[in-house]
Amino acid sequence: MAECHPVGFQWVMEAKARGTKVFHIDPRFTRTSAMADHHVPIRAGSDIVLLGALINHVLSGGHDFREYVLAYTNAADIVSAEFRDTEDLDGLFSGFDAESRTYDPASWSYEPAEEGEAAPRGGEHAGGGRHHAETARPDQYGSGGATAHPRPRRDETLTHPRCVYQLLKRHFSRYSPEMVEQMCGIPAADFHRLAAAVVAASGREHTTAWVYSVGWTQHTVGVQYIRSAAILQLLLGNMGRPGGGILALRGHASIQGSTDIPTLFNILPGYLPMPKAGVNRGLEEYLAHAATDTGFWGNKRSYLVSLLKSWWGDAATAANDYCYDYLPRLTGDHGTYSTVLGQIDGTVKGYFVVGENPAVGSSGGRTQRLGLAGLEWLVVRDMTLIETATFWRDGPEIETGELRPEDIGTEVFFLPAASHVEKEGTFTQTQRLLQWREKAVEPPGDCRSDLWFYYHLGKRIRQRLADDEIDRPLRDLTWDYPEHGESREPSAEAVLREINGTGPDGRALSSYLDLKADGSTRCGCWIYCGVYADEVNQAARRKPGGEQSLVAPEWGWAWPLNRRMLYNRASADPRGRPWSERKAYVWWDEERGEWTGADVPDFERDKSPDYRPPPGATAQAAISGTDPFIMQADGKGWLFAPSGLGDGPLPAHYEPHESPLPNLLYGQRANPARKIYDRPETPYNPAGSSRFPYVLTTYRLTEHHTAGGMSRTLPYLAELQPEMFCEVSPELAAERGLVNGGWATIVTSRAAIEARVLVSGRVRALRLQGRTIHQVGVPYHWGWAGGGVVTGDAANDLMPIVLDPNVYIQEGKASTCDIRPGRRPTGRALLDLIEEYRRE
């Protein structure tokens, strides 16, 4: 955190100054470790073993926050008798189909409270739709709420063998301190110190926070890493409470915003799923499957209809399902990696790359570049001539002679972009806070904002339309924004106002609770509704922090409804009283009959803790006054996920796709549902291969940013970190004859790259399973050109294309490699070297 989110880390130091204990769990010793109380080195790719052992420690020692767990989680819910755990199936859950490598989650569901009670509507994908495994399930996760029975059978004594609490106990019992020692390389004494600290800092008076970044997500079990943390935090009562939570530190200025208003294939704005062919034929069918009916997702009709109205305006009417049929349909994985394979195969003809540098920044760089070379046309919008724009003249494949510029048919348009001070608009930072940026100066020359580009491109496309049926969605599209200045820049504020939404009177709405399903409201992203409340750009608010409470509600605007902490109703006990005075945050004011406190309550303001839903209630009315997790179908925190995940209702440790070690926990070595591509462009290192004996992991440096387009180009930053390097332990250096300051070549089946050697005690050799495991760390900021003041080989060329089955993120943080002294060969000899490694 001190390395990659340095200014955010000041708050950790503030906490430490007040007595908080800080543990840093990371393969490397970094600036964060230097400031922490304890650094816990770990083998990359083994975190579920550690988290699972902490869960086991909490459960077997009776350290869970019982009152919180009983009231706010699904610990007492009873799961179907059909369910089989990894304990029964040696590393698989029930429902796995080996041929399609997918799970049918039907057997993971709750047992209904009343015999024969129908499964909830929307349960198709929860209840056995294996034939739509690709289109109806994994892509849908991360959108809408997973369905579950809102009233399962419960055992408040937590003793029923099929209640979630007992399932959890059994499932995690093999995650022992010994296992942590053998799998993570963390000595038992260090584990016990961590476990004791976590337990001591949880409960009524204390909370523990977990902070993570892509070190937890870029794995073939990435989603389950986060699930493990969620289980631990729920058991300890650390969710929805001040000083608690699981904090995702996102890596880019508006990566949160890019998810909320997604340029992602599987979702529409506000996490509404994109429609799937065959399953979501009409609006009604879409809504039946889109999300859960109980909890706040129950208003999905209002969210979607308001979105369609904002896109297609008066053309969207009740009679035509508000133009629902204008939405294109998905038929499976359309993620960035399968798109690149489509470029190689010739199905994808044109590609827009906007502020991104896949030729260097995405896994399997060579595959990315072959994809670019397979295009008919490519538009690159950036502030610098990044490698993605110049691959055809200076890419590594040109150097090796695999490709010649004359043979690459890709037509390339490079359009220079405006910088962050040359345009106005909002970023959404890591805590869901929108901050408006004022424009300082006009962009130079041909530089334009991306807002300008898409607005004017849209106008031009619309001028070129035919009278054809396929053009109707474009013809009917609302595409009128006020233009400013000589360059006719569209008004970002007008776009923000459209995102916020308007009511029947044309006035800006102030809450998503005001959205209607009858077409009378418009809203471009329901979770952002309120950012333009009272016709005021709330994201532009800048009341100085020093003049506000610690929560600082008048600085920017956080979605939803300016709530700074999600699920904060859990900061009070079931009766609505703070768990303790120290940890008071939001509570029920009996006299005034409303929730109040330091933050905007994440609960209906006047819903009493005594409220119980009537039978058949839907949406928020189905959430009782004691259920804080209001987006969930049952209002509970899910220790066990009866649906919504593509690789199991509980986290299980699986080895990375490429790993030097066996899985000591189960016969099943790697995640059975992980997404593998059987492609010659991107082969894999065999697991346990002696040819690739070392763990390879990538990371960032404080002084650079991602693929380097925004940092290698800056003399200040280039001077601070001038050269690509790899970090190895003294033991590995001795084993391989690597010299500090000299050169090394790192090899995988995909590529061989060179880097300067940094021999340091910061990457420690780990002793486990009777052997020594070495890890090689490489920063990924360099590329061969990119207008960089400094250049170097690209670490991502080494990485495999193998993905998490839930969200299709690549395993960038744990793979294998070989390392040898000296510079890499060039030209044909480089290809020969890689070929030699592949053969063996």
Binding site: P6, A253, Q343, F352, R393, F413, E422, V441, R460, H705
Partner: protein, 186 residues
Amino acid sequence: MGAREWAGRWPVLRQLAGQDPRRDAARSARTDALVPRTATADSVARSVCPYCAVGCGQLVYVKDGKVTQIEGDPDSPISRGRLCPKGSASKQLVTRPGRVTEVLYRRPHGTGWERLDLERAMDMIADRVVETRRRTWEQTCEGEQVRRTLGIASLGGATLDNEENYLMKKLYTAMGAVQIENQARI
């Protein structure tokens, strides 16, 4: 100013005379006349750092239509005026001399860049989109309506503004392009 007074202002003499060279004795007439760029700015824009997602507040100082300085915003409850090396260097992102400010074009099989007028480039891109979309249009897939094109894809960075992402998703969806992706998955 008399000679004696002038010599008295000469830092070296004062330092030789035993005054602490790290303090006032280091000052010269020139340093006295210096004022920070932040004091002479024509305007100050309130902005946000474009690198990581901490979202540190920035104050962008402008003089004669040029960015002269970027500082941390002390009012921000997130950053309290601080910026890390990247945030502190961000002025160079805007003002560095090597920044490309013109449209470049590489024709199929070409070996070099050519200049292209921005308006012309926009027209050419719009032509490509319309033609490719029509050529690769898929009304149905395995008998089910899909109403889309798999011929056009997009990958955006996560420094895009919300408003930009919104127009992108809106336009692409209306076009029927579904392979719309972002750094957020990577």
